[in-house]
């Protein structure tokens, strides 16, 4: 028997096999960190809010997990769950794709909106789920965002929007693009009414969603390491973007160039939100406290 090679092509192949065998570990027990390749015990990972305890890599959180991690003891009530997706372009591949994402995630659409309690205060939340069709915004997402904002204006509640999106759902065509205009217009109303609006960027925060309501918050905070910019990688490659810095379109790049207020690790997210909300509290509340 020949000894296992240390260098060269065969060694590379052997390392690949070894990695794959890790990937093939029984589901639900272990996960390998995509950044540092540390093998993480799933229970530990969950306890750590899906952040790698070695390198701090932030896994993408689903909408339900995100809401759970932010609101007080599950105090959340969904709104507009009855809005259903429409195949607006009558594109024959749309319905099968939609069915596929629904089966994969158990969700009906890419966003959950509703009212939750944070530190005892009612807040309107909108949380995109990147696992559902890359969190793309179509008619339902746009409408839910706008209705959530309108609800906040009517009930004088602050708004927190969590972004996790590849952009506009291109299979909804021009009506999809118009969701950018629609949600931005709603942001104008929000600001007119003096409602506090916080945007939390999470992995990925891209394209049409970033370039609309995702950029219009009073405060914009971001999880570390995430991807954020006007284009997804594939499109940037096609557009032949050159002279790219190392952290191009990462959260750190956004901070360095002045697009976000802070980078906040996941475990500090809720305390940070509480601070920001406290700053926005109405004057009479302060008087009450005094």
């Amino acid at each position: 028997m020949t000894p296992a090679p240390w260098f060269g092509r065969r060694a590379k192949a052997a390392r690949k096999t070894a990695r794959q065998s890790v990937d093939a570990l029984p589901d639900g027990l272990w996960t390998k960190c995509p950044q540092c390749s540390e093998i993480l015990f799933n229970k530990e990972l969950l306890k750590n809010m899906r952040v790698c305890n070695k390198c701090g890599y932030h896994y993408i959180l689903g909408a339900a997990e995100r809401i759970e991690s932010i609101v007080d003891d599950g105090a959340f009530e969904e709104m507009d769950a009855n809005l259903a997706t429409v195949n607006v372009l009558e594109f024959d591949e749309y319905e099968p794709k939609l069915a596929k994402w629904r089966a994969k995630t158990g969700m009906e659409e890419a966003i959950i909106t509703g009212v939750g309690e944070i530190d005892g205060r009612s807040v309107v939340l909108g949380v995109l789920d990147f696992h559902f069709w890359a969190g793309t915004m179509g008619g339902v997402v746009g409408e839910r965002v706008v209705r959530a904002m309108e609800f906040a204006i009517q009930n004088d509640m602050p708004v927190i929007m969590f972004i996790a999106s590849g952009g506009i759902r291109v299979t909804e065509g021009l009506p999809g693009l118009m969701q950018m205009a629609k949600t931005s217009a709603a942001c104008a109303k929000l600001h007119e009414a003096g409602i506090p609006y916080i945007v939390v960027l999470t992995d990925n925060s891209l394209a049409g969603v970033l370039a609309s309501y995702g950029s219009l918050g009073d405060f914009t905070i971001s999880e570390p390491g995430l991807l954020t910019g006007l284009t997804a990688d594939r499109v940037a490659k096609q557009a032949q973007v050159v002279n790219v810095p190392d952290n191009f379109r990462r959260a750190e790049f956004a901070l360095q160039n002045g697009h976000i207020d802070r980078i906040v690790p996941r475990k500090d997210l809720k305390p940070t939100l509480i601070k920001l909300l406290a700053f926005c509290r109405e004057q009479e509340d302060n008087e009450d406290a005094a």
């Binding site: 009855n82 809005l83 259903a84 997706t85 429409v86 607006v88 372009l89 594109f91 591949e93 179509g138 339902v140 746009g142 409408e143 706008v146 506009i168 291109v170 299979t171 909804e172 065509g173 021009l174 009506p175 999809g176 693009l177 118009m178 969701q179 950018m180 205009a181 629609k182 931005s184 217009a185 709603a186 942001c187 104008a188 109303k189 600001h191 007119e192 394209a207 049409g208 970033l210 370039a211 609309s212 309501y213 995702g214 950029s215 219009l216 910019g229 006007l230 284009t231 594939r234 499109v235 096609q238 557009a239 973007v241 050159v242 002279n243 191009f248 379109r249 790049f253 160039n257 697009h259």
Partner: protein, 323 residues
Amino acid sequence: MPPSWNILDFEKPIAELDEQIAEIKRLTAESGEDRTEDILALETDRDRLIEQIFANLSAWDKTLLARHPKRPYTLDYVRTIFDDYTELHGDRLFADDPAMVGGIATLDHRQVMFVGQQKGRDIKERGYRNFGSAKPEGYRKALRLMKLAEKFHRPVICFVDTPAADVNVGAEQRGISGAIARNMMEMATLKTPVVVVVIGEGGSGGAIGIALGDRVLMLEHSIYAVIPPEGFAAIVWKDAARGKDGAEVMKVTSEGGRELGLVDEVVKEPLGGAHRNMDLAARNLKAALVKHIDELLEVPIPELLDTRYKKFRGMGAYSEKMI
């Protein structure tokens, strides 16, 4: 340069007839022979041919027309439509963006603010105009000019002609996403009439960044889409070569925009496209602009803003299930 470099495939039969007519005209001019009737007959034939060809154009053909190298660009229209145009430069923050032009203009007796994306005609100008892809400073300049229009109660006219916004490192550094978002938010509540015309390519976020207005018009052979057809094909079928199908599915044409209820009026182009008769194309567009501006100037501002908000508020498709 081969003569066909700026002639589309489906335009070739037309171009051949054009050539024949020109040739006869040249020969008769030399010999003094009168062949007016022949020429007229040929011209009638050619026009019939154009009508036939243009009645059967696919969404992809329209995409090529919208990107036609001879198609009139923003400043070509500006020169013909406005009696006077004084360009204003710069965003007061970083730079002047030649891909986004704007300034004060007079539309007959009306003072208006004009902004629009500008493409380049030759290689040098294309580079200078960045192929009509505006950078953050371009969007900020546009917003600055629109805010001036608001201050002095002048209507705004926006011409959209861009493949997409610029996505290079500099544009990301200076916050292209935020600039586009900000424009839409401000335009939603801009206290003066805004008329938007897609004159060529209405490319995605790059377009919508100056396209939130009281009226949205499209020239007959322009396109308006969430992503270029090639990009759609690359995302949906992992095959950028299927742009033809992508254009069809997305309904990128002016009829598509009307059908989807997102475009208020389609402005007729001359037979064979705007590039065959620039003056007529500009005259048609001017008539449409005058009509819409005059209508909008009659509307009280609160009502104008309310209607504008509701217009965009109502866009997009969803259904409400009973629970």
